[in-house]
């Protein structure tokens, strides 16, 4: 397909200590998609992201970036298009001030000072960190540091962002803010996003497609509705349904209420409940 940006074909990866992290993973990511990799700790999410980012190269199978095998591309060619946001922002932010950190990528691209400043200003505006340019990185809050990591990649004009647990360690408002930011980048700026997460309550609201990763294998994939339609599978891989889906699932199976579909958000659940109550009132 023409619009496939990243194609992962039959990837397997084994660490030096013998741990087999990925088994025959295949995935096609189209331009402009917002994809989630959902899995428990140790399921292989981070390894897969690092393989897709070209940080791990001794894997079996192939990763094609715009149709070219990632092993044939130089780091410079890969990182012009794809950027990985690490789980811990302290692993990623290394410059003394926020401005310098965000400017690092554009400077390495050989841009002139005005262009660099313009890109940094724009990236910081995108992640709502304007005005903090001169602040030391270690004085930023955890949420700000997470957003600063994204700004560092945005300033390079990446077409694809890979994010490792972007909401981990954030408070509920911080989680929501982060997801809104990613949604905005995806919808307004056309950035293709692949994020690893185990936050089942957040993903249905924002993602186009979802893949469940368990013990290095994809067990399910599809839209959030399709994926969360099998609660038993979720329990098997040490995850749970989103709370709304769990409520409706219990009402359906334990209280024998007649729901047509499994809602994933409060809004959907509200509509489903009203519809079911109206239907039963009509029957009565």
């Amino acid at each position: 397909m023409d619009d496939v940006m990243l194609s992962v074909k039959n990837i397997s990866y084994k660490y030096a200590d013998g741990t087999h992290a990925l088994f025959g993973i295949s995935l096609d990511v189209k331009k402009g998609e917002f994809i989630g990799l959902l899995g428990a700790n140790g399921s292989g999410k981070t390894t897969l992201l690092r393989v897709m980012d070209g940080l791990m190269r001794n894997f079996e199978g192939s990763v094609l970036l715009d149709g070219i095998d990632i092993k044939d591309l130089s780091p410079k060619q890969i990182y012009k298009k794809v950027g990985l946001v690490f789980q811990n922002p302290d692993d990623q932010l290394f410059a003394p001030t926020l401005f310098e950190d965000v400017a690092f990528g554009p400077l390495n691209m050989g841009l002139d000072a005005d262009d660099v400043k313009q890109r940094v200003t724009s990236a910081l505006r995108e992640v709502e960190l304007s005005g903090l340019e001169r602040k030391s990185v270690h004085n930023l809050s955890f949420g700000q540091r997470k957003r600063a990591c994204i700004a560092g990649l945005l300033a390079m004009g990446h077409e694809m962002l890979l994010l490792d647990e972007p909401t981990a360690g954030l408070d509920p408002m911080g989680e929501y803010r982060m997801m809104r930011l990613l949604q905005k980048l995806n919808r307004d700026n056309g950035v293709t996003i692949i994020m690893a997460t185990h936050s089942v309550d957040l993903v249905p609201v924002f993602l186009d497609r979802l893949y469940i990763l368990s013990k290095g294998k994809f067990t399910r994939g599809g839209t959030p509705e399709e994926v969360f339609n099998a609660p038993e599978d979720m329990a098997n891989i040490k995850l749970r349904l989103p709370q709304m889906a769990e409520l409706i699932y219990r009402l359906k199976h334990e209280d024998k209420m007649d729901f047509q579909r499994v809602p994933l958000t409060i809004g959907e659940a509200r509509r489903e409940i009203i519809k079911t109550l109206e239907a039963s009132a009509g029957k009565g």
């Binding site: 940080l55 780091p75 000072a113 001169r134």
Partner: protein, 248 residues
Amino acid sequence: MKIFSEHFTGEHILAKIDVRAKLIVVIALLVMVLSCKGILFPLLIAASCFLLCVKMRIPARVLLLRYSQPLFFALMILLLKFFFTGKDVIFSIPLLTLTGHKDGLIEGLIIASRILGGVSLLIAFGFATPFTELLSGLSWLRMPKQFVEIMMFAYRYIFVFLEDGMTIYNAQKNRLGYAGVRKGMRSFGTLAGSLVIRGFDQSQKTSEAMIQRGYTGDMPVLKCSPLRFGEIAIAVVLIIFAGAIWMM
């Protein structure tokens, strides 16, 4: 924990002066202070720098903390020189086997005043200059790249390192790791070892983060804008003025 430039407010006149002009003046003054044969010039510089810090509204507690170490060293050297070097005896305390020497006192005063003058210059410069500007100023002065890069990483990771150290220390303390000298020593050894391992781990991750943002071995820095004539003129006038006092 804050370092010097984090007290930088940006409102003071010194903040608006180009870092390169400040660096040139500081280096010139430093050479004068260290090569001065009297005590008046270094003390004058120390007093001026102290007043500058006060004018920059640096909290007294912070200033005291910054000055405490050089003051301590200056005092120690003064006492050592006074009591243990020289020939011209002023007095002696046989009970303590201490003898005060006039020439030792003069030598001690000269060294102590140089310490105070030099350190005061650096303290005032540190408070008046954001750290990142200092780095670009040092690059402009053709400081070795490696030195500037190490300074940059040190500035960033010293806090991560301290945080990690404190976390491990607290975790050990919570489990009675420091209940007793032997246990404390063992815990401290583990702490130090863990920090070294974490340091290696961190370096690996940082290197990956840098590579994926185009790092190829050269740390890029924003080029400084051309120095303004007014700032060069002020710097030259200041150096000439200080030089005139130094020669008196």
